[in-house]
Point group: D3
Chain length 291, copies 6
């Protein structure tokens, strides 16, 4: 989750390129060439800020001077100024929407994640709140980074990250025990193996043949608790991490945490998070008008 | 909103490329090479489907045979099968998440848009429900297309699409009257000009100097209604379109429609729409296991 | 027509990359490493300069210091120095041809456009002189920008810019009246609609059903004048813009202007404009020879 | 000048991608989905055709069936049909302008080149008519290929192609004799070396120290003839090729040929050639209207 | 290590694009257009073949029909035909070198890896023979895949793959114990953590605070054996994998295996492997010569 | 072999981008944000250094300050410090492997090439030691540049560089004499023509019809000497360059040089060169730890 600035800048430059097409015809025709302005970004609702590093990189790559007034992860109240920018007015207006779209999406994800994490912590659980791969296409890096800023775990980023044997793999290629064993033999030692299981017996077998993590998908908290207890009884609890997934939301997350799992993962924090409302306001025109 | 299939395919190919990194290590290690399967995509909740063309193109570019069971824009009930796919199992599992992420985002946007459009229509208004540029970065094309499928208007796609003079342009470069007039003189005849206004007098002036559309941003419905009446009185109502924007949601949209505007635009339909829940299920393994 | 400098730079960088292949083997083998020179670009014939912003951006992205001696749009006489550059000699010689090719193409287009615009203005007409999409592939942005600098109108840039229903669309999908009406209903409010017409009755119908512009393609000036008069008689002249296109050249442009159209468009200003002759001359070797 | 079809296709696909932006909104809104048409490309003026291979590749990559009715290099009369295309109507209209722009540019270049080549041949000379690097940015491959089809020589394509020591290199780094000698020692044996010379003595020295070609730039035909005679006298004529360049046009080319040079090169054949007028006409609608 | 064919094809296409530049001028000028040939690829020395999937994909993307005569991983003797190709002669000669370069590099790496793996197996050890990140830039995927085909372990592919705390991280940020502990707390549960250690005490601490793997870099086999024994004594041997790295070659690899490590890793198998000699021979000209 | 720095930087940036994926998770989690370090690159074995320009460009593009302590082409002894770098610690560790992989590959190639060149020079021959196109895919520029730094000749870079008629072209399209003659007529004057020959009579004919270079592939030195003598006897030795290729190695290279050829070319210097061992060591932590 730490792209070098130069790599990040190129990603952000391309987003602007796509939006700008053959030019920002509004700014071009309205703003006198050479106008310099100061502007600020204001958050309009309560939340956790994410995207500061990206906003700074975006400003820098387009030649604007930006200063962050809060850090990634800060909790802010409505009307908080989070970024101050200064520079060429046409450029600023051209990148405004790209900056806001990224900032408000990342902050929305971080805020939602953080709400869940705090709910779990306040209830006294150490359960990891994790994302899934249900991210916006092309925005996986940013979505996952925002989850991390909100206190969550990004989980695997892509298909090359960790081995995660799911229901469809099992439907095609065999049972949990055999598939985990075979995969452990063939795959690189550098990779963890997670496997989705739906029956208690599979949980045990997965742990025995060397899975690092089991995913209990769409199981009721009660069933999950049974699995946890069974592993404890068989002295396998420490050998394996347990992830609960499927149908978990703000309303029922504590029941999963209470069931004793290590990780709960939710698609909604990246897939359906509300953007955090914010806007950019020009606060001073420093030079210009002579067009 | 009509990309040639070849152009669309390349966009989709790149999304998979990003997700797959150096390979889908799970499918590679678990599924016997040469396995062929049939699968279906099932929608788990009620909604309007969007993304069928994309799902077909994605399948085709990766050599899978897909058949759509519904059209874009169809309203479906939970447990409806919307796509049937057949082909190489490893490839299918590799593109599964990309396909679902796009399909469920687009369908979520179309569903949300459609709910608003139907609410407006049922109340007897012809008001256009439009999107804004608050889209996910890099996904503008898909987000806007989904809005259209849901019955909404995509509004401008990018900065090169239409001239839209907003508060920040006005803050920097002059009043509505002068800026619209100057822009009308300089800009290409092929472009419409829209201007954001906050005072009734500006609405009149905008219409008089040749703006095609006025955007009434963050104005109360009552104020908006006054503006509409004023334009009618001055015989300018037919010369200009009126768009209401800012703070419009499912809860208050009808009041804006009732105020007599031509267009209402909402950021939330692209920025904060919930994804429509769907999943891919393997239904038959046709060949394989001999690995 | 206002790309942010960073976006422009990347386009220009790619042009050099293509030309340079695996290296400028001439400069590499002849010029001592570390040589610094001053050079100037001289125009060899009379014309209107376009491409100054591009030449400055190209210089900057490759680490050369350039200073423009004229502005875009300036009329210059033969032997005018238009740019002064200083920096690493090998780099300068490597980008020389790219810079000159862009500069002289853009200036050629601006000069040709300007000649037509001035001819029209001197004859007392306000007719807009517009380009078409007959641009060099991949150079549309630069060609259109040069047209604007020459005083012309870029017209639509690409297929996503404005709706332009042409003869082939009509041949396939229906008559002017029906097609314009249907399109007005389906297309975004943010887009203008232009339609090509060949009969007087179609001109009227187009205006009535809401076309923003009619294109009279390959019609004799006399016929065009009839159309203009007819619209006036029906009180529709102010509702619609009229564009004449097809077969218009320097020799007959005034007759089209006289016919009363709003816009004349010509493919030749981008497709067949002569490049403006210019060259780069090294004027001082400041450091070097120690290779 | 022989790109594999797959490489060519990708270049052409990108040209369409740039033009199409977020979609061909005209075709999308007017043409019923699924419509299939037949169309033909007609040349409207006399000329030499170039671009057939490109038009076929462009058609193929977008799923259209095209059949060429003439070969590259064919001389055609006005109203000749040169290509017949069949396929999806929306796709065809989307790529129409890209296809015509490339076809008419390449044919314009081939036609202009061919006129010069034939003029030279009819006058009884074997002089090679060559292009320069004064091509449209990004279109070098196509421009040079068109020159070849017209019977000309493409000359070097890019900076990595041949060593060409020009006036600016000499101004910075030394005299002809020393620079050619040093370059011959350092450069790869696989490269030819050409050097620009302005004095007769330099011609001799260039030949003596191993230049493969001398370029006589902006020299009067009479001066050039002297150089040729001098080389003959010194028995060096067979050791070196002589290229005349600078200020050569249709009007004076025969005088350069008569002077006895091997090659004449002209910037105008790529930089200022008129496009050959052609258009695409739909000739039959085979399926559709059910939209 | 399982890229979908479509993704692989695009990578391979780009390699050819780079090599072909503005065209394969040899094939273009010598081979009659339309010539079809059959050819075969012959291995000239003993080895293990890798690159079959790539060669087939490369053939397919360029429209050639290829048939593999051996599988990836096959051991072959000199003069074995491994691939049979048929198709357009110009295209085949254009891609010949790209195909051979990839095939012979991958086979060279697979052969070298396999020699080491067999040496270790024959000596009775189960030690994993692993690669490092010392791959050719841009070829990591292919280099690692070849290691796998040779029976080795690819180890981590990139910087996002597994956490590997090396000497420089320790030099900057703290001791083994603290850094592993802190990293385990902050990093995603989905990632393994490996740490480089140089002292026996660090080995124990790494195991205790949750490292998944320890890397013993540049330690003598004797020292390594001590570490292994110590871990056994402390009952920690099963909690952690041990990798030996640094200075391991064909000559000493068995001594490291004998020391009881789980993994030995060697940079030389990707960085300094000899390419396996192979060549492409045309065996039949099926059509042509009519040029 | 002289890419402008800006072009080079983009190539290098892309190599890092590929390696870094979604982030250097090790540096991100271990190194305190804001830490600044000094580091050095040390060569561990004797060799010739190549890649200094690349290492400096890579440092610069990622915002690190680097200073070279040796020049490209320097011969160094073990433990020589060749580069000193200072800057952000996370960035430095992220690009470390990319820098070392390029540096050690290029230095390995330069060292191997140089050993051969010196062997030939010490034996009193002027024979050029040349590379082939057997380079790592995508690394051709760097491989060839390293050959040049080692004192060798890069030979042709790509398929567009020089005409090289090989055995397969001859097998398909005709004999040496006819094919060279036809190619000389059709190809650009700017290109050299080389032809592979296997019989003495072909050598003569190639020289007579205008080949610039003959390649004697896989011929014994004795046979080659006969060819050289024959050319001398026929007074054709000065008209043509002779290249020996195929099976040439460190062990037999002098025998080929002694045979009187102008050039010997070897695939192994790029395809099978051992990387030069080097490493990066952090030498000072200047700021940090406050994370």
């Amino acid at each position: 989750m730490a792209l070098p600035k130069k790599i990040l800048e190129e990603k952000l430059r391309r987003f602007v390129e796509e939006d700008v097409g053959h030019g920002d015809i509004t700014a071009f025709h309205t703003i006198p060439h050479g106008t310099v302005v100061e502007a600020k970004i204001i958050v309009k609702e309560k939340g956790v800020i994410a995207g500061v590093e990206e906003a700074l990189a975006l400003s820098e790559v387009f030649g604007l001077k930006a200063r962050a007034l809060v850090k990634d992860g800060s909790k802010v109240m409505p009307r908080t100024e989070i970024l101050h920018i200064e520079g060429d007015a046409i450029t600023l207006l051209t990148i405004e929407r790209t900056m806001l779209n990224l900032f408000s999406r990342m902050s929305g994800i971080a805020s939602h994640t953080n709400r869940l994490v705090e709910m779990v912590r306040r209830a006294g659980y150490k359960t990891v709140v994790a994302a899934t791969r249900k991210t916006a296409l092309g925005l996986g890096y940013f979505d996952k980074k925002a989850v991390g800023i909100g206190g969550g775990d990004p989980h695997r980023h892509g298909l090359d990250d960790m081995i995660l044997i799911k229901d469809n793999h099992l439907a095609i290629a065999g049972n949990v025990k055999n598939l985990v064993r075979k995969t452990r033999e063939k795959a690189s030692f550098s990779k963890k193996i997670e496997v989705e299981v739906s029956r208690l017996s599979d949980v045990l077998e997965a742990a025995e043949v060397g899975a690092d993590i089991v995913m209990l998908d769409n199981l009721a908290p009660k069933k999950i608790e049974e699995a946890v207890q069974l592993l404890k009884k068989k002295k396998l609890r420490n050998k394996i991490l347990i992830e609960a997934s499927g149908g978990i939301t703000e309303r029922n997350i504590l029941r999963y945490a209470a069931a004793g799992v290590d990780i709960v993962s939710l698609g909604e924090i990246t897939q359906s998070a509300r953007a955090l409302d914010m806007s950019l306001e020009v606060v001073r025109v420093k030079k210009g008008s002579s067009d």
